[in-house]
Structure formats: C-alpha cells, structure tokens
C-alpha cells in the first residue's frame, strides 16, 4: 500500500520533473531563454492554449473529450474577422465570436446528451463540420486584421497583458466553480461513475451539457486571444489545438478517464510547460520540422503518464471478496 502511494506520488510529480529538465536543457543551450522578459513572453504565449485547456479540463473531468476545439477556434475567429472586415466595432465582433463557440459547444452537447452519440464521435464530426464551415466562410483565403486587433492583444491592464488577464480570470473562476459549487462536485462524481451518479439522484444530462458549452466558449476565447496575437485568420488557424489542449490538461494531472484533475495549478501549469517547450525550440533555433515531432512526444508522454497512474489506482481499488 505504501509502495503504491509512493509510486502514485512520483507519477503525480513527473510533470514537475519534466519542467525542470526542459528548463535545464534550454537554459544551457541559450542564455536568452532564461531572460526574465522571456518568462513574460512564455506566459503571454501560453494564454491562448491555457484557455482552451481550461474548457478541455472540464470536459475531461466528466470522462468525455472534445476533439472539435481547434475547429471551433477557427470558426469563431472567422466570424469575428468577417465582422471586423465588414466594419463592425471590435467588441461586438468579438462577442459574436464567443457566441459562435457557445453555440458550437451547445450542438456538441445536444448530440451527446440527447442523441446519445459518444463524445469522441460527436466532437469528431464537429471537427470536420467546423473546419468546413470556416473554410466556406473565409473562401479558404487568409484574412489580415487591422492594427486595432493586435493593439488590443498587446494592451495591458495594471501592467499585465490583456491575454494573461483573461487567462487568469477564467482559470480562477472555473477553478472556484469546480471546487465550491454543487455543479462542480457533481461533475467530479459523474466523471468517476456515471451510473453511480444517476443512482445517487444527480441530474447528469444538464451537467454534461454545461461542460461542452463551457468548452466551446473557452475554445472561442482561446481563438480570439490567438487572433489578437497573430493578427490574421489563416485556413489552418487552430488546427490540432485540441491535442495541445488535452496534453496541457493531462500534463497538469487531469485524467483522461474522468473524475480527477484541477485547473489551478494543474492545467495552467501544463499549458505553460507545453508552451515553454515551443518557446525554447524557437529560441535555440531548432529545425522547425522538428517541432511537431517533439511536441507530439510530449503528448505521448503525458498520456502514458495518465494511463500508468490509472493502472496503479485501478489495482488499488480492485474489489475483494474477503478481507485482505
């Protein structure tokens, strides 16, 4: 029992060790990496991924998954971009983009809770539908945004860049709700054992519904943050970001099997770790064709960690018929 707890403890600390290794490697390769300004850069660069990962964490907690995050990011910014190009005010365009994300999440939620399609398939469909819709909307051409968009992204509030403010506010809010509301605690119960939750009298469908809506909304906000940082909508905007979001959540200790995980520090830490690697690769001038290989290596590692952790937990919880 104690050996198992030790092993579990080690597995839980593995991302921290990974972080230290990443720091040591990049720090020794380039002294620009350890520059304080670079930390602020990493934080700013992380904010888009972190916001998507916050929504993903909530979905993963219910033992579900949302594969449509990248496509929803794209549709949201495509709509926003179109509206801005059409002369609408910035705030209205962004609000509309957020609504697009909420609606897309709502469609996912409906298909999952009403039509009882498993989340993997339902959101996979949304991945293609969203991408296709966005491409149709933008005529598959890139759109460059006016300067006011990037200026908004570079603006500061109390000296903190706006994207970082948004990330922190969302993280604290969702973290608080998961901890301190009936909705949050019941969400954890559902992730642990859906049938058990139903038997206990938890109203399961509305809670699952809200998780996908939240995830869709977060995806849209994440896309808008990225838009203010890049200033352009390209046809591949947001592509495969769902996997980065899953990796960030899982690196932060969220389980793909549901019921386990937290936003603070967990998911936020995972997103920053993921972004640190990407930032480091840029700073040491690594071959750009290596990026996907290294980042997918991290995704693989995070999932492997989670599966091992799950196996250790599962072995400890095996049902016995006689006292051991």
């Amino acid at each position: 029992m104690t050996r198992k707890q030790l092993l579990l403890g080690l597995l839980n600390q593995a991302p921290l060790a990974l972080f230290a290794v990443v720091f040591a490697i990049f720090g020794s390769l380039s002294n620009k990496f350890l520059d304080p300004q670079n930390f602020i850069n990493i934080l700013t660069q992380s904010s888009s991924l972190a916001v998507a990962a916050i929504g993903m964490t909530v979905v993963l907690l219910t033992a579900g998954v949302d594969l449509s995050v990248g496509s929803v990011m794209f549709v949201a910014v495509a709509v926003t971009g179109k509206l801005i190009a059409g002369g609408q005010p910035l705030w209205l365009s962004m609000l509309a983009g957020c609504m697009v994300g909420v609606v897309a999440g709502g469609v996912n939620a409906l298909v999952i809770t009403r039509l009882r399609v498993i989340a993997f398939i339902a959101t996979l469909a949304m991945l293609f539908v969203g991408r296709g819709f966005g491409l149709w909307l933008t005529n598959t051409r890139a759109m460059n945004m006016p300067d006011e968009v990037t200026q908004f992204g570079a603006a500061r509030w109390l000296g903190i860049p706006i994207p970082v403010v948004v990330m922190l506010v969302l993280a604290i809010l969702v973290h608080w709700a998961l901890r301190n509301t009936a909705w949050g605690r019941q969400l954890y119960a559902i992730g642990q054992d859906v049938d058990g939750a139903k038997k206990a009298g938890v109203r399961v469908a509305p809670i699952i519904f809200s998780a996908y809506v939240l995830c869709g909304g977060c995806a849209a906000v994440s896309g808008l943050i990225a838009l203010t940082q890049t200033g352009a909508v390209s046809p591949s905007f947001g592509q495969q970001k769902e996997f980065a979001a899953i990796a960030a959540a899982v690196l932060g200790g969220t389980s793909l099997f549901g019921g386990r995980g937290h936003i603070l520090p967990g998911t936020l830490f995972g997103a920053i770790l993921f972004q640190t690697v990407e930032n480091g690769l840029v700073i040491v001038n690594a071959d750009p064709y290596l990026y996907p290989l290294i980042l997918s290596g991290i995704i693989f590692l995070s999932v492997l960690l989670d599966t091992t952790r799950q196996r250790v937990v599962g072995r400890a919880a095996r049902r016995t018929i006689r006292a051991v």
Partner: protein
Amino acid sequence: MNSTLLEMTGIRKSFYGVDVLKDVELRMQAGQTLGLVGENGAGKSTLMNIIGGNLRADAGQMQLAGELYVPHTPRDAQRAGVAFIHQELNLFANLSIAENIFLTSFPRTKLRNIDYNDMHQRADALLEQVGLRLSPRLLVENLSAGERQLVEIAKALRLAPRLMILDEPTTSLTSRETAKLFELLVSLQSNGMGLLYISHALGDVKRLCDEVLVLRDGAVVGQGPMCDFEPNQLVSMMVGRESSDQFPPRHNHPSKVKQLDVQHVTQPGVVRDISFVLNGGEVLGISGLMGSGRTELARILFGLDPMKSGHITMCGEPIERLPTAGRIARGMAMLTESRREDGLCMQASIAENMSLVAEPKYARPPWGLLRKAALTSALHAMRNAVKLSASTEWHRPVQTLSGGNQQKVVLAKWLLNQPKVLILDEPTRGIDVGAKFEIYALIDRLASDGQSILIISSEIEELLGICDRILVMSQGEIKDELARNEFDQSRIMLAALQADHVAASLRDADQ
C-alpha cells in the same frame, strides 16, 4: 397507537412469466430488527427492491407506519423514510466523505456556492452517530471497506429514516469492522429505527435480529422470534425442497488420471490456498453463495485474473504462466456465468458464434485459409450433438434464440475445440426445465467420453443431481468436500454459510 412500522400483504411479483414472489406477508415493529434469510434466488432482493422503490409489485399492499405506502422511485422511498444500503456501495472515491454524504443536497451560502463549514459540521455529527472518527474532508478512496460501509450508513442517516434496509453489509468486512457495525445497528434500533437485515451469515442474523423471516422460492416458509429457530433448523427451512426426477442417470465412473491439478492457488483478497484435483471423466461441483469466490476461482483457472502464488497443472503440463489463449489451445474451456455479456456475440449468427473458438483448428497452414467444408460438417455434427432445435436457421442472430438454445450454442462453440477440461459457471441459469435436462444429459455424455467437468452452481440440487464430488466454498476458501455417497444438502449449506466471523458469532451465541 399502532407500533407496526411496515406491513406487507399479498405481495406478488413475476418476471417474464416466472413467479418470483408469491403472496408474501411481512410485518415488523418500530425498533425491531428483522432478519431476512433464504437461498440465492429465493426472492430476497426482489422483495427489498419493492420496499426500496426500485421495483413495483404486481399485486399486494404496503403500509408504512399505518399509512398506505406506494413508492414509485427510490426517491419516493427516501422521502417516506426508507433507506436502502445496497450490497454494492455507491460512493465516489474521488470525493470527500462530506461531499459523498451531501452530493445531491449541498448546503449553500447566499452566493449559491457550497457552505463547506456547515456541511462539514453536519457531516461531523453524522459520522459521530455512526462512530467514525474521521475528518469529513478525507477522500473516500483512503477509507477501508468497513469505513466506507459506515459512510454509506451515515449518508442514509442524513434523511433520518424510519426504516433501514441492509443487504449483506458484512461481506467485505473484517470481524472487528463487523462488530463495530453491529454496535451501531443496535444503537439505531434502540432509538426506534426499524432494521431489515438480509444476510447469508446466519450467525450474524442470530446475533443481531429479534425476528427472522425465511423465504424459499418466493414464498414465506417461516417467520417468528429469533430464539425459536436453531441455525440448523433455518438451514433446512431454506433448502427444503422436494426433489424430483429432473436429472438424467449418471453413467460413468471417473478414472484416476489427473486432468487438472490445482495446488495452493492464492490471490490476496480473492481466494486462499485452493487445492483440488479433477480426474478424467469426473464431474466436480463447486457450491457456495454469491460472493464466495467461485467465479473468481474459475476466472483465475482460465487465466483471466492474476494469481499471486500456487500451481495449476493440466494433463501433466504446468499452465499457470500461460495466457488464456494458451490454455484454450491446450484444451481448457470456460462457459461464463453471463452468456449475454461474455459468452456470445449477440448480433452474430449461430454459425459464426459456434465456429469462433475452433477456427484455428480448421485453418490450413501456412496462410491460415479456412477449410470451409470440414468446418461446416463439424458444425452440423456438433449441432446435432447438443440437440439445438432443428427449426432454428444457421444465420439467425443468436439474440433471437431462447436462453436454452443460446446456452447450447455456447457449449457447442467450446465442444468443437474438443476440450479436456470444461469449466461451466452457472450453465443452467435462466433456462427452462427441458433444456436443463438436455444440458445435464450432455454433461453426463461428455464425462463418459473422458472429459473433465468443473461445474459451478448456486442450485445445490443441481450439483447433487449431476456431480461425482462437490467442493464447498466460502470467503474464498474451500470449506468442505463431499464424495457422492456423502451428499447432504444441509451439510453443504452449513459449510457455505461458514465464515470466520460467523463461526465466531455462532460460538458466542452458544455460550
């Protein structure tokens, strides 16, 4: 004032035309503990589920404290003051004790967030009531089985029930935990709560209950003060069933060839030191109550679950390190207790299901192309051998077959592989009498051909009817072994009910 807490009259319930409860009458007082005993399948769970609002009776009436009581859902039952502690606990390991207790009714502050202070205070009070000195902040995954059982009771106490139903609450508890639970139950009872206690552990029932009610085949065969019944008398009331000629005669005599040799098989928490030998042509029965480790043992023998120590030898060859596929290739077969979930591909046809296991034998090397003609003729021969009714077409999906025919398909699937050792887990569950007889006859014929058969069953008569020898399991151990000339229903039942803490409590009761 009427002190009758629960009164049930003329309760009937049937499933798919089978009567499970026949005119059951039950009466209990407030502040009383009523023990409910009976064999597996006697109708105990059905009766409890009717009281708990999970099932509705086909006929009959219930009154709770003098008022008509008609629960449609478990929620209705809870509101009326009936708490049901299931054998399988419903706790969430990733949440704290307090969160588990208040999962559907969190106390909230004005901001609508959870009032943790209030919740922990109230949880503390409930935990104190059940005698659990733990912080309500502790995650349930850190608790032992006994502590979880007490948390489940604390959860039920939140609604201050008048009647509490406990279904086999002690199966995974140590004797110390059991003693602690009983202390709690006695104190609840003295506060006026009625307890309905279901258990196979007659010693526990004797120690705890004021009254006892014996169910057999869905009918009440005895109710009265506990002191009026001796444990042996209870056992004979539980099993006393007139036997009939539902079994074919046995033909063969087992040889002295060891087909399967099991030595000291142990897996902590599951089975302990299991040793037995299965000879060629022998039909060996394993009796025991649900949760006694019978199925778990079969799964270990078949390589589905791990074992910590021990040896398994089949026809002289050690097989304990082989995976399931290797054991099948060497001639082992297992018919699982749930044919719908584990035994059949329900949408596939009869032919597809039957050929599943033996296909490698009909594959031609080196590319593994199937010898279709040979396979088809073997399928036809086997179909006749298991007497699968002629009217069924080959390409019908098996889900359209009756339970008996489905079971024959599963048997045929394994027999095509010509196994030497056949493990049958509840082979006649949910099968009509005619098909049962045919399966018994088939077992006899297989044994005559020299195959060894290990058969697990909850029905003692079935084992008495077809076995050469019977092992009795309880708490993951073999408690008794009976040769054919020693067969005795009461002796089997007594051994099956023998649990360590039960034995201890029986001794206490004798003093």
